[in-house]
Amino acid sequence: MKSWFGKFVPVIFLCDFLFTTFSLFTIFTNVSTLQASEKMIDHTRSVENSLSTTYALLVTAESQQRAYLISGDPVLLNQYNASLKLLSSQIQHLADLTGDNKKHQQNIAKLRMIIPQAIAVLQQEIVDHEQSGRIDISAFSIQQEPPLLDEINKILLSMRNDEEQLLQLREDNTMNEYGAIYTNAGLTFFGNMIIIAIAFYFLRKELQERTDIEQSKDDFINLASHELNTPITSLKIFSRVLRNKLSSKNRTNTKKYLDKIDEQTNKLTMLITDLLDISRIQTGKIRITKEPFSLFALVKETVEGIQGTTRIHTIITRQNYEKDIFADRYRIYQVLVNLLTNAIKYSPKGGTIVISTAKKQKEVVISVTDFGIGIDKKYQRKIFEKLYQVTDTKEKTFPGLGIGLFISREIIARHGGRLWVESKKGKGSTFFFTVPIKNYGQKNRYY
């Protein structure tokens, strides 16, 4: 898998950032609403205070008037007038406080009609008293308790009730606001935790993948060292033996040693070429130059060369396609060599190997069949991976770097073809690949 894990994580963090910013924004909004609510509650208390004060002033004024009528003390008259002034300014204050409340304004309008009437009654009593010089105590009987006062009382009570209801409403709102803030904060916290957990999950996976990749690189390097060192060691020893033979003038088997040296050198060359190819594929620099050439001739040549490397196998060709193909000749040669040497390697007891070619629509299909150990179904995909080697039932591994199929597949893919296998464990394997026949309108190009 490619490292799209790594690409996911920035996206996750971006989402987290947006989510948190949005949450904080809503929290701030909630806090301002809360502050507004608190202010409204304060306001309600002010209104209630004002209502109380209004009533108190009215009662005080009345008491002062009565006290004056009884005692005749002019100080009391002054106090009475002062109370009336305060009363009028208090009513104004009340009106100002409740300017936005229609119901209250209506009630205040009523008060502004009735209160002057009540005051007028009080004033009239004072005037009567000043004129007649007498106090008519019966004028103070309870029945005369102005129903106006009751009326005023009722209005004030009604306003108080309204205000209480508003208070309740506002207090509920405030509670809701608090609730909203806590919920928001909680969600933000948990949301963040979840997002961070997800991010960590992806990062861990990525880390694991990278560790695995590093591990397989290490494994590969170890394997490569081992594989390369082995033919080199043989080369050195055979050269030494040959030198001894030549210097001791014992010429028996000298040819054998020269052949051995040659063989080892070839092995080495192929290993090195594979290694170079693999590093080129990794950096994307593998070069394909296509041209038309005879597949027939190439197969024939390749088979002749490979047949010479084994005495226990017979390679049979069944070429049903005799024209040209449009591909990179050397690369197709590499693929053929890879498949044929694999066929030999994985039928260690010898036998027949069949290579055939056939035209299929606009492609040529080439197949290489061996009757050797076969490949278990569960490995049929893995064998195309970079470092894989087939093992047989006795768990013996076969020498080589295991990168031939990986490169072959890459080469065929670059030609726009496919490389695949059909195999049954114990029965043998057939590897197929396709190459295009013609160059569809494109000249020699680097691919």
């Binding site: 060192n229 060691t233 050195k236 020893i237 030494r240 080892q264």
Partner: protein
């Protein structure tokens, strides 16, 4: 006196190469690609030295070495472990191995090393 060596390595080209070289140098060489039956072979052949590759197909040179070291009459035979792996030397410490030989090796030094374990004339 006889100079006898047993060599175990899974690469048959290496086995053949070393065998030919040592036979030219007057050694009696027994080769094997696996550690199978190694104890019987050692008892009957009685070599002066064992050359053992670290990584054989499916078995570990170290475990063969440990088995030899635990078997009464053959545990004193010196063992040299060979390996092509760059970091193999660290893994063999404490397993009863006498020497570690890195592949590819210098032939002269190789012959001198073997001579060290041979009975002196």
């Amino acid at each position: 006196m006889d100079k006898k060596i047993v060599i175990i390595d899974d690469d048959k080209d290496i086995l053949e190469a070393i065998k030919d070289l040592l036979e030219m140098e007057g050694y009696q060489v027994y080769v094997s690609q696996t550690g199978e039956n190694i104890l019987e072979i050692l008892r009957s052949f009685r070599p002066n030295l064992i050359l053992l590759d670290l990584l054989l197909s499916g078995e570990s040179g170290i475990s063969i070495c440990e088995t030899i070291r635990e078997t009464e009459d053959i545990k004193t035979i010196p063992i040299i472990i060979m390996s092509a792996h760059p970091y193999a030397q660290k893994t063999i410490e404490g397993s009863g191995v006498n020497e570690f030989l890195r592949k590819p090796f210098d032939i002269e030094q190789f012959l001198l090393l073997l001579q060290k374990y041979m009975p002196s004339h």
